[in-house]
Subunit: 412 residues, 2 copies
C-alpha cells in the first residue's frame, strides 16, 4: 500500500510540475474540454441533430483533431481541414463522374486507379519541405476525404448532399474551436515567438553578465536564483575560480541552443494569426527566425568559451605574468559587460517594438575593446602565432577527450 | 507561356530532388497508394460491405492516418489506434450506463460533465513528456472515440454492436497497413537509426581526416567529392591555408549537430519494431541516443575549432617561431589522425555489431599525444597562462563579433 501511495504521490507531483512549468496548459486543457462539451450539445439539441443526421460525428472529430494550444495552430489546422475537405470533395465527385462514363464494370477499376494515383501523389507531396511545413495536416485530410468520397458506392447526387452536410458540420466544429481559442484566454503563437526571441537575447546577456536579472520576472518567466557577474566572476579582482562548473549562468546558453524546433513551429503558426495586440497580420515573423539562428551561433561560441574557462580554472596557475593577465582580464570584462548591455538594449527594443538607439554605443565600445585586444597582441607576432597554434591544438585535444568518452560509451 | 513552363520545370526539378534525396520516399508513396487501393476493395466486394455497413469508412480512415514511413512508425500508430479505441470504447459504455441511472433529464447533463472531465484530463496528459513521446496519437484517438461513443444518443446494446464493428474495421485497416509496410520493401526505423549513428561517427572521422572517404558508398550514402586531409591540410608540410573556409570537410560536422530530432523520432519508432535482420526485439536503442549526444558535443567542439582555424588562416603570420610551430603541427596531426582512426574503428564495430578491439590502440596514441602536448606546455607556466587567458579573450571577441551581427540584423 505504501509503495502504491508513493507512486501516486510521485505521479501527482509530476502533474503539478507540468502545470507549474506553463500554467496555460491547464487553461488549454479546460478549453478543450469546454469545446468538446459545446459540440456534444449539438447532439442533444434534437432539431439540429435531425437535420444533419450521422454527419454530426464529423463536428466531434473536427473539434478533437483541430483544437491546438495556440490560436495560430488552431487556425492553421481548421483552415487546412476545411479547404482540404472542399478541394478533395470536388475532385472526388469529378473522379466519380469520369468513372461512371466507363460503365458498370470499368467504374470500380478506374476508381481504384484514381485512388492509387492520388494516394501516391499526396503521400509524396508531403516530402516537399514547403508542403510539410504548412500543409502537412491538410494533405492528410485531403487524402482522407478523397478516399472516403471516391470509394463510396453512393450515387453522385447523394454524394453532393453528403459532402454539403459534412462540410457544414466541419465548419461548425472549426467555429467552436476558434470561438474557444480566440475568445477565452487566447494563447497567441506570435506572442510566444516574440517572448522566446527576447528571452533568448536576455539569456545571452545573462551569460555575459553572469547574472540572472530580475527583469525576467517582468517578462513572466520563472524566477531563477541570483548569481554574480561573469565579468567579475572570471576576470574581476575578486575572481575565485572556485566551483565555476556549478555556476548557473554558465549553463544558461544551453536552452538557447535547443530553441530551434519550438521557434520554427511557433513561426509557422504565427503566420496564420490575424492582427492581435501590437502585432499586425503581416508581421515579419521570418526575421525572428533569422535572429534566432544568429543567437544560436552565438550560444555555440559561448559553449566553446565555457569549456575553455573551465579548463583554465582547473589548471590553476601561479600568477606568472600578473601584469599581462590583468590587462587581458580588464579587456574581457569590458567586452562582456558592454556586449551584455547591447544585448539588453536589443531585447528591450524588440520587446517594446521600438527602433534600438542607445545600443550602438555599448556595441561600439565592445567592438573597440575586441579590436584593441587583437591589435595589441598582433604587435608580438611570434607570441600571437604560437598562441593561435596552441588554441587549435588545445581545442583538438578537447575533441580527443570527447572521442575517448564516445569510445568508452561504445564499449559499454 | 515561357514563364509557366519555367515554373513547371522548376517544380519538376524540385520533385526529382526530393526523390533523389531518398528514393525510398517514392517506394513509400507507392505503398501508401497500394494500401488505399486494397482497402477500397473492401468497399467493392459486396458481402464484406454488407456485413459491416457504414463502419467500413473507419478502415479507410485508419489506412490514411496510420500509414507511416517506417515499420516502427506504422506499428506504433496502429497499436496506439487499436488500443485507444478499445479502452475508450469500454470507458464510454461505462459512462453511458452510469448516466442512464440518473434518469432522462440527468443523463445528458452527466454525459456532458463526463466529456468535459475526460476531454480536459486527456488534453492535459499530452503535456507529460513520456506520454507525448510514445502515446500522443493514442490520446487523440482515445478522446475521439470516447466523445463519439459517449455523446451519441444510441442505446447501450447498439453501442456495443457499433463498437465491435468499428474495432473490426480498424483492425482490418491496421492489418492492411502492416502488410504493405512489413512485406513490401520494409523500411525499418532501427536500421535507419543504426545507419545514422555510424554515419555520424564517420562524419566526425572525416572532419579529422579532412577527407570524404569512399567507405561511405558502402553504407549507401551519396558520394561526395574527395578532399585532402585535415591533418596535412592544416598542419602538414604542404599546408597552403588557402580557401580554407571553402573546404567541404570543414562543414561536415554540421549535419551531426542537427541530427537530434531525427534520432529521437527514429529511436521512439525503433522500440516498437519486432526482430528484424541483425536486430533483436529489445535491442538497446537508448544507447544510440547516448552515443548521439556525445557525438553532438564533439561536433560542437569541432565548430569552435573551425572558427579558430579560419581565424588563424586569415591572420597569415610570417614564420615567427618555425620550430615550435612545427612541433605543435606534428602533435595536431597525430591527434587528429589517430582519433579519426579510432572513430572509423568504432563506426565499423557498431556497423558490424562486433566488440571494438583494435580501436584502443589508436585511441591511446591520440590521448598520449594530447597529454604530451599539455605536459610540454605546462613546463612554460607563464606562456601557458597567457595563452589560456588569450584563448578566452579571443573566443569572447568572437562572441562580440556575433553580437554585432545580431545588432545589425535587429536594426534591419
Amino acid at each position: 500500500v505504501d509503495s502504491l501511495s508513493c507512486t501516486v504521490l510521485g505521479f501527482a507531483g509530476k502533474l503539478a510540475q507540468v502545470a507549474r512549468d506553463d500554467p496555460r496548459r491547464v487553461v488549454h486543457s479546460l478549453k478543450a474540454g469546454l469545446a468538446l462539451t459545446l459540440v456534444s450539445v449539438i447532439y442533444y439539441v434534437t432539431p439540429l441533430f435531425n437535420s444533419w443526421g450521422d454527419s454530426t460525428v464529423w463536428a466531434v472529430i473536427t473539434v478533437v483533431v483541430v483544437m491546438e494550444f495556440t490560436v495560430g495552430g488552431t487556425l492553421s489546422r481548421g483552415l487546412n481541414r476545411a479547404l482540404a475537405t472542399l478541394v478533395a470533395g470536388f475532385l472526388a465527385v469529378g473522379a466519380h463522374m469520369a468513372a461512371q462514363l466507363c460503365g458498370e464494370k470499368g467504374e470500380p477499376i478506374l476508381l481504384g486507379v484514381f485512388v492509387f494515383l492520388v494516394g501516391s501523389a499526396a503521400t509524396f507531396s508531403r516530402y516537399i519541405p514547403e508542403v510539410k511545413a504548412r500543409y502537412d495536416y491538410g494533405v492528410t485530410i485531403f487524402l482522407l476525404t478523397f478516399s472516403l468520397v471516391g470509394v463510396s458506392s453512393y450515387r453522385v447526387e447523394e454524394i453532393i448532399e453528403l459532402a454539403h452536410e459534412r462540410f457544414t458540420t466541419i465548419a461548425v466544429g472549426v467555429a467552436i474551436c476558434l470561438f474557444t481559442t480566440v475568445f477565452i484566454f487566447p494563447i497567441w503563437a506570435g506572442e510566444d515567438l516574440h517572448k522566446l526571441t527576447t528571452g533568448n537575447l536576455d539569456k545571452l546577456a545573462e551569460f555575459l553578465e553572469g547574472t540572472y536579472s530580475n527583469d525576467l520576472d517582468e517578462l513572466e518567466f520563472p524566477c531563477i536564483p541570483y548569481d554574480k557577474g561573469m565579468g567579475s566572476e572570471c576576470f574581476g579582482e575578486n575572481s575565485s575560480w572556485e566551483n565555476l562548473e556549478d555556476k548557473a549562468f554558465l549553463q544558461v546558453y544551453k536552452s538557447v541552443l535547443n530553441s530551434k524546433v519550438r521557434e520554427d513551429s511557433l513561426c509557422t503558426f504565427a503566420k496564420w494569426e490575424p492582427m492581435h495586440g501590437k502585432f499586425c497580420f503581416r508581421h515579419p515573423w521570418n526575421q525572428y527566425q533569422k535572429l534566432g539562428t544568429l543567437c544560436r551561433q552565438c550560444a555555440s561560441s559561448m559553449e566553446a568559451l565555457v569549456s575553455c574557462v573551465t579548463t583554465l580554472k582547473k589548471s590553476q596557475y601561479p600568477e606568472a605574468n600578473p601584469e599581462l593577465c590583468q590587462k587581458i582580464g580588464a579587456t574581457c570584462a569590458a567586452m562582456s559587460l558592454n556586449s551584455a548591455k547591447a544585448l539588453r538594449g536589443l531585447s528591450l527594443a524588440i520587446w517594446t517594438m521600438t527602433t534600438p538607439s542607445p545600443i550602438n554605443n555599448d556595441m561600439s565600445t565592445a567592438t573597440k575593446a575586441a579590436s584593441d585586444f587583437r591589435a595589441e597582441f598582433s604587435e608580438d607576432v611570434a607570441l600571437l602565432q604560437v598562441m593561435h597554434m596552441a588554441i587549435v591544438a588545445s581545442l583538438l585535444s578537447d575533441i580527443v577527450i570527447q572521442i575517448g568518452r564516445i569510445t568508452e560509451s561504445t564499449n559499454n
